[in-house]
Symmetry: C2
Subunit: 432 residues, 2 copies
Amino acid sequence: MSSFSPKSFDPLVPESFSEESKVVVDFIAEYYRNIEKYPVQSRVEPGYLSQKLPDTAPYGPESLEDILKDVSDSILPGLTHWQSPNFFGYFQANASTAGFLGEMLCSGLNVVGFNWISSPAATELESIVMDWMAKMLKLPSSFLFSGTGGGVLHGSTCEAVVCTMAAARDKALEKLDGNENITKLVVYASDQTHFTFQKAAKLIGITKSNFRAITTSFSTKFALSPENVRAVIEEDIKAGLVPLYLCGTVGTTSSGAVDPIKELAKISREYKIWFHIDAAYAGSACICPEFRPYLDGVELADSISMNPHKWFLTNMDCCCLWLKHPKFLVDSLSTNSEILRNSASESNSVIDYNDWQIALSRRFRALKLWIVMRKHGSTNLMYHIRSDVAMAKRFEALVARDHRFEIMVPTNFALVSFRLKPELESISSELN
Amino acid sequence: MSSFSPKSFDPLVPESFSEESKVVVDFIAEYYRNIEKYPVQSRVEPGYLSQKLPDTAPYGPESLEDILKDVSDSILPGLTHWQSPNFFGYFQANASTAGFLGEMLCSGLNVVGFNWISSPAATELESIVMDWMAKMLKLPSSFLFSGTGGGVLHGSTCEAVVCTMAAARDKALEKLDGNENITKLVVYASDQTHFTFQKAAKLIGITKSNFRAITTSFSTKFALSPENVRAVIEEDIKAGLVPLYLCGTVGTTSSGAVDPIKELAKISREYKIWFHIDAAYAGSACICPEFRPYLDGVELADSISMNPHKWFLTNMDCCCLWLKHPKFLVDSLSTNSEILRNSASESNSVIDYNDWQIALSRRFRALKLWIVMRKHGSTNLMYHIRSDVAMAKRFEALVARDHRFEIMVPTNFALVSFRLKPELESISSELN
């Protein structure tokens, strides 16, 4: 144990803050410069890091130099490099200078904007940015604060689904007059819907057997068939169950499939089901007029979410959720707490975002999305999307010309679904 | 509309990344230098920001200079300055240079470590850091990876409570053999427990009437009385209900009260209730031997959480959650998804943290907590806690000497509970 014993301690001195932060900035810039030299997927073995680091925190302080040496020697080799141009593992999560600058401001100001009064700018910028983004996506005014709805930034789609599904649940249970009816509630998605949807349903107490992953097939390019959805709903109603929530996806994880939003929305209206659109990945593309038709019918939906941290150059984490009736969300999630009482909230003239999400505390995420939009402008953001899609189309064409592979479904966005032809696969596995 | 039309676009060029990031670093350093000049609580009126900003995103790109000018002119005046030394609004959320550097690395590397393979270092550093922190708190080895338990970083206590309560619920429902028994499950806390506990219970489907906010009083310094807890539990059992989950708090929000952890833990064992310790605020203090006795009995608990983003100099957001049986959490939250399949996960030799939390995606938060511990060392961190407590004690003594005020409960940590004496309060309101 070191004999170091502090006489005084200031964890934030502006001069050394500035100096040390610039060292880390250069460290990160150097990482970007060299990123293509790393194998995209880390080659470390499970447990590698515990061999390299001590098993307790140090007693005395250590230098930034030592820490960054460990980042270089021990952390970087253990990363899967999501920012590498050679990364094709999942949907991308593209960092940008703009997103990074926004994250720095968020982290540096370090305000906790759970309600309006705890940092008015955090709430107000978020509302403005949500309207900006909604306008870029040409969402109907029923989802905008300048209209009759509104939006909020969450950390992930799963969180957005948990909150909207809980809102739908509480609205339904009130109508059904009794919490015991929770076992009657049924949620609907396709077998291509992101698996966090099922997780969200389980979290809010939906019975596992009341989760419908409706089968899709090659014939609909892995999109939901409205006829199938209607048939499953009808069957549930006959069985005495209560249809609650349907999720339609614009750009599924496995194949980039797009569910028929307008038809699904109409069915949801007919059966009074909450209809959510998960456009986590492909929502970004819909800022371009040529992709916007995929969202047609959104005017009939209850909520829609998309993740700027995927394809919109916004560093992790950032999920936009818009609601036609924010009231339902607030009804379900608001809490009365003495410690949060303030005259602005009581005047009902402000938004208190803690009532729009799971947690109380929240980061000032709006800064980064605001800076991404301003620093790039919608023209560059559209260029970015189109350039990625053009690359994907080029790749698709190359694959299509190669007799060893086959394209599974036409490429809608920047995700190309292809496979080794089955006959070659069997030959290939025989050879191994 | 501008006529700007991009020919090419690179959102992350290392040179300009470095240059622009340093401008923002200096901007933030300047903010810290001047922070005491701002009124701590913003004086803006609701809706002020929409008067200052355009109502749509720009078409063409804007300069960093223009953006930072808007931050200065429009955002800073709308902040409530959580980093001001004059901020006493809620529990603090102290930023530090170390925390900021960690956030920069997290944001710059921008990996999405949902499972081991998606960035092994992110998972492994988190496991190591959770063990480091657990050792600083002298948690029993049953909560450590090096023992038989383990920990995870969440964004907030509410998230930690949602996940552990869902785990408890699913374990109970399996035993009760039917989801319809969800309406029988009861959760317990005190009337001083953080209100997000009630929100979490509602989110996972616990009936509102099955939430017990057990009354505390001045006589127990606003801590739970074990006798009362036992009586309420017994009554519920007699009524055919099933006690599920009890939350004990170390350092409540209103008065810094500490529930009797050991006695509550024993009762929980007796009735087979999940016992969670919420040490969000005061957990940080327990790294000092003189405060550690408040956690005595933790060895009998099922889970414990504390927030380094409150009193541990870690920039938002960072909540540590340790579990004695991580298996129960994973049983409840894991999902089988084709897109996540990989040989490391299937070998069961790695941790896949997406099964320990609500969302799939996750930030590399461990970096900042690691750097906070290394750059300060436990000695400075203890100094920081003791210095804050000493200031609080000094303030408490000054208030106690002033006949206009009274101290409500003795100051355990750095939160001083005092009030204007009732007779003066009535005089003061008559004068207004």
